[in-house]
C-alpha cells in the first residue's frame, strides 16, 4: 500500500475491540469484510469507508460512528 496522505481522521477500532474483548477476525466475520480490509482500517491506512461497512461495525460493536472515528485538529 502506498504512503497515505494525512486526512486527520483517527480510527479507534483497536480500543473498541479491546473494550469488548473481541478480535479483529471475529468482527470481520460478523461484519462481512475481510480481515485484511479491517486491518487496513484499524491501522489508519484506509482512505475511505463505505456507509454499509461503518453501519455494520457500529451494529456489532454497539457504538456510534463518533466512537469509532474522530477528527484530529492539528
Amino acid at each position: 500500500m502506498p504512503p497515505e496522505e494525512d486526512h486527520r481522521i483517527e480510527v479507534h477500532l483497536d480500543r473498541l475491540l479491546a473494550e469488548r474483548g473481541m478480535t479483529l477476525a471475529e468482527l470481520a466475520a460478523r461484519v462481512g469484510v475481510t480481515v485484511v480490509n479491517l486491518s487496513v482500517l484499524k491501522n489508519d491506512r484506509a482512505k475511505a469507508i463505505r456507509f454499509s461497512t461503518l453501519a455494520a461495525i457500529c451494529r456489532e460493536l454497539g457504538c456510534q460512528p463518533g466512537d469509532l472515528l474522530s477528527y484530529r485538529d492539528s
Binding site: 502506498p2 469484510v33 482512505k47 475511505a48 463505505r50
Partner: protein, 204 residues
C-alpha cells in the same frame, strides 16, 4: 477457495501470454531487425528486390486474357539490383528495419503489460502510457512506414533507366492507422480505469 482457483487461472494465463509474447519478440527481433542488419553488413545475402507501383500495366500471356476467367496485369512490378553496394543495401533494408524496430517496441511494451498480470494489477498508469506508445507506434507504421518505403525506392532508382517508369508513390496505409486509433481509444479507457482504481484504493 474460488479466489485461489481464479488466482491460479490468471497466473497460468498470464505466464502463457508472457511466453507467447516472448517468443514473438524473439522472432521479430531475429527476422525483423537482426537478419536485415546482417544483410547490410554482409554475412548474409541481403534482399535485392523491392515491390513498386509503376505507371504502365504489367503484361500477361494473351491466352489468359479471354474466356470466363481472365488474368489481368496490374500496376505492380519489382525492381531488382544485381550487385547492390553498401548504400543500396542500406536503402533496401531500411523499410524492413523500420517496421521491425517498431514491432519489437510494441512487443516489448506488451510483454511488460503482461507481467503486470502477475500482480493482478493491470490498471496502473504505466500500462496506460504503454498503450499510448503502442498506438503511436502502430500509427507510425501506417503513416511513416510507406514514406520510408517511397523515399528509399526513389533514392534507389534515381538516375537509373528505371526511374521514369516508377513514379514517386506514397499512400498512407489505412489498416494500421485505424488500428492505432483503436489502441489509442483503449489507452484512454485504461487511463480512466486507473483513475477509478486509485479512487477505490484503500476503500474499506
Amino acid at each position: 477457495m474460488w479466489g485461489r482457483c481464479r488466482s491460479l487461472q490468471v497466473g497460468r494465463g498470464g505466464r502463457l501470454l508472457e511466453t507467447v509474447l516472448g517468443l514473438a519478440l524473439a522472432l521479430a527481433g531475429l527476422f525483423g531487425v537482426l537478419l536485415p542488419l546482417l544483410g547490410v553488413t554482409g554475412p548474409f545475402d541481403s534482399t535485392r528486390a523491392r515491390d513498386v507501383t509503376i505507371e504502365a500495366v504489367t503484361r500477361v500471356p494473351a491466352a489468359v486474357s479471354s474466356g470466363p476467367v481472365t488474368l489481368h496485369g496490374t500496376h505492380r512490378a519489382e525492381i531488382a539490383l544485381a550487385h547492390p553496394d553498401v548504400q543500396q543495401r542500406i536503402l533496401l533494408a531500411l523499410p524492413d528495419l523500420f517496421y521491425g524496430a517498431l514491432l519489437v517496441l510494441v512487443l516489448v511494451l506488451l510483454l511488460r503489460m503482461a507481467r503486470t498480470l502477475r500482480r493482478d494489477d493491470v490498471f496502473v498508469p504505466e500500462n496506460a502510457r504503454r498503450l499510448q506508445v503502442i498506438a503511436a507506434a502502430i500509427v507510425a507504421m501506417g503513416v511513416l512506414g510507406p514514406a520510408v518505403d517511397a523515399v528509399t525506392t526513389h533514392l534507389l532508382i534515381s538516375g537509373t533507366a528505371v526511374s521514369p517508369a516508377v513514379p514517386f508513390a506514397y499512400t498512407v496505409s489505412s489498416a494500421p492507422l485505424l488500428l492505432g486509433l483503436l489502441v489509442a481509444a483503449l489507452a484512454e479507457v485504461f487511463r480512466q480505469g486507473t483513475r477509478l482504481r486509485e479512487d477505490t484504493e484503500g476503500l474499506v
